[in-house]
């Protein structure tokens, strides 16, 4: 092989090692991607669209800083990122407001119970509310894509559970379900425990307990379910 050819090859290899675009450029790319999407975009999705070697997770954090105090904000929604208008400027957008269907009290309470107790079974929701939960209520929340099915509970009958979605977090401006208002206090007060009525089997109680610790599953698990 001629010497200059070898040199050229060496150059190409060296170049490809530094192929990732400069940080400022990566930030621009993340900016363009987030601006273009109405839905939150995951880091993985951004990386897949950006040139090889780019790291969207760093770029998005720089971008978030850059937009602090601006008319729009870079926000984290679950495991994804989005740009949203600053909440204090909502009054400018009345024209854009989408009239949402009014939720029944039953639906709102069911949603709150799912978000604070997730994963939660229908029986548990009924136990907390003291009335049966109609399918219509659950269907409405599923249709809004605010709740979805979680894993089946490993108790007799293997009942399905419900958990909240990224859409729920996005709608209520939450980074994760851990940021629900008052969650810590409720847990400290034992109000998120699933206490069986006295005199009922302790075996079951143990099972419930296990699920309870599992209430907020690790992020990757959560993501897996989201796919």
């Amino acid at each position: 092989m001629p010497d200059d050819a070898k040199e050229n090859m060496g150059e190409t290899v060296a170049e490809s090692l530094f192929e990732a675009p400069p940080e400022a450029e990566q930030e621009r790319m993340v900016e363009a991607i987030l601006f273009a999407s109405a839905e939150p975009v995951s880091i993985a999705d951004m990386n897949a669209r950006m040139p090889h070697g780019a790291d969207a997770s760093v770029a998005v954090q720089h971008l978030q800083k850059r937009y602090e105090g601006r008319g729009v904000a870079v926000v984290k929604v679950g495991e994804a990122w989005a740009i949203r208008t600053a909440p204090d400027l909502g009054f400018l957008m009345r024209k854009e407001t989408v009239e949402t269907r009014k939720l029944s009290r039953a639906a709102i309470e069911t949603l709150a119970i799912v978000s604070y107790h997730q994963p939660v079974t229908r029986a548990e929701i009924e136990e907390i509310r003291g009335v049966s939960v109609s399918r219509g209520t659950v269907d409405q929340l599923l249709e809004l894509e605010w709740i979805r099915f979680g894993r089946r509970r490993m108790t007799p009958g293997r009942p399905v559970t419900f958990v909240v979605t990224q859409g729920f977090l996005d709608h209520f401006g939450l980074e994760s379900a851990r940021d629900l208002p008052g969650l810590r206090e409720l847990r400290a007060a034992g109000l998120l425990d699933n206490r069986p009525p006295p005199g009922e089997g302790t075996d079951e109680a143990e099972d419930e307990d296990e699920d309870q610790t599992d209430m907020f599953v690790s992020d990757d698990e959560e993501e897996e379910d989201d796919e």
Partner: protein, 257 residues
């Protein structure tokens, strides 16, 4: 879509009939409302007083001939039982949870329901997407381009060809005849040609026009001409020689022939 919505609406209507008795959403809701009249922290609620309040409420409803759903009556019966447990000294003979335990659980249920009501109010009071903050108004869709490439290996190619040619082995096949020259054909040609050259001549130069380029035809013609020249040599018509292995084969008309 609209069919589904009406479906949901129907279910909700059906639910309202079952649940919405006199404005209350079930016995627990009623109990919670009654407990508020005690004007104390839910944690210090008097379950005994609450049971009495509830039983009184049910009694009133009966007097007013209000049709109460079964679960209200079940709750009334259970509260009456709880009340007796709380009032009477515990029976050592009897198993099961004490009146205090049952009362504590009821108090817990009420507190939990109240907490969830509070949470739902706080949740709905949050800034909401599409009402207080907004997503991109002109989203640009991601154009999905799917490019399909096909691949095959040399082995695939050879196996494919082998497959075809293997089929030929048991099927009459005429194509090849174009590229085959028989010894008879070569003999006919050479008989006419050898007379013209008195010198030693390369056998390859005897190949007919058009057969020296295509390798298959060249192979076939070379073979048939070689066989033919052997035949001619045997008949004493020509001499044949080769200087060394793989060297060109040369032929010459026998002077005496």
């Amino acid at each position: 879509m609209s069919e589904q919505i009406s479906h949901i609406a129907e279910r909700q209507a059906a639910e309202a009939l079952i649940v919405d008795v006199d404005g209350f959403e079930g016995p627990l809701d009623l109990l919670l409302t009654l407990s508020r009249t005690q004007k104390v922290d839910l944690r210090q609620i008097s379950v005994l007083a609450l049971a009495e309040q509830y039983l009184k409420f049910v009694e009133e409803a009966r007097k007013l001939r209000i049709e109460l759903a079964a679960d209200y009556l079940v709750m009334a019966a259970w509260l009456a039982f709880l009340k007796s447990r709380l009032l009477l000294p515990p029976d050592p003979e009897e198993d099961g949870p004490s009146g205090e335990e049952l009362a504590a659980h009821l108090a817990f249920q009420l507190e939990r329901l109240a907490a969830m009501r509070d949470c739902s109010a706080r949740l709905m009071g949050r800034d909401q997407l599409g009402r207080d903050f907004f997503a991109r108004g002109i989203p640009e869709g991601v154009e999905r381009v799917r490019r399909v490439t096909y691949t095959a290996t040399l082995l695939d190619l050879m196996q494919g060809y082998a497959r075809i040619r293997t089929r030929d082995d048991f099927r009459p096949y005429t194509m090849d005849r174009e590229a085959v020259m028989t010894m008879e054909q070569a003999l006919d040609r050479m008989r006419g040609l050898v007379g013209f050259a008195g010198e030693w001549t390369d056998l390859a130069s005897y190949l007919p026009e058009g057969w020296e380029v295509d390798p298959k035809r060249r192979r076939s013609a070379t073979a048939s001409h070689f066989a033919a020249s052997l035949e001619l040599a045997k008949a004493g018509a020509i001499d044949i020689r080769q200087d060394e292995t793989f060297a060109p084969i040369q032929i010459r008309k026998r002077p005496d022939a």
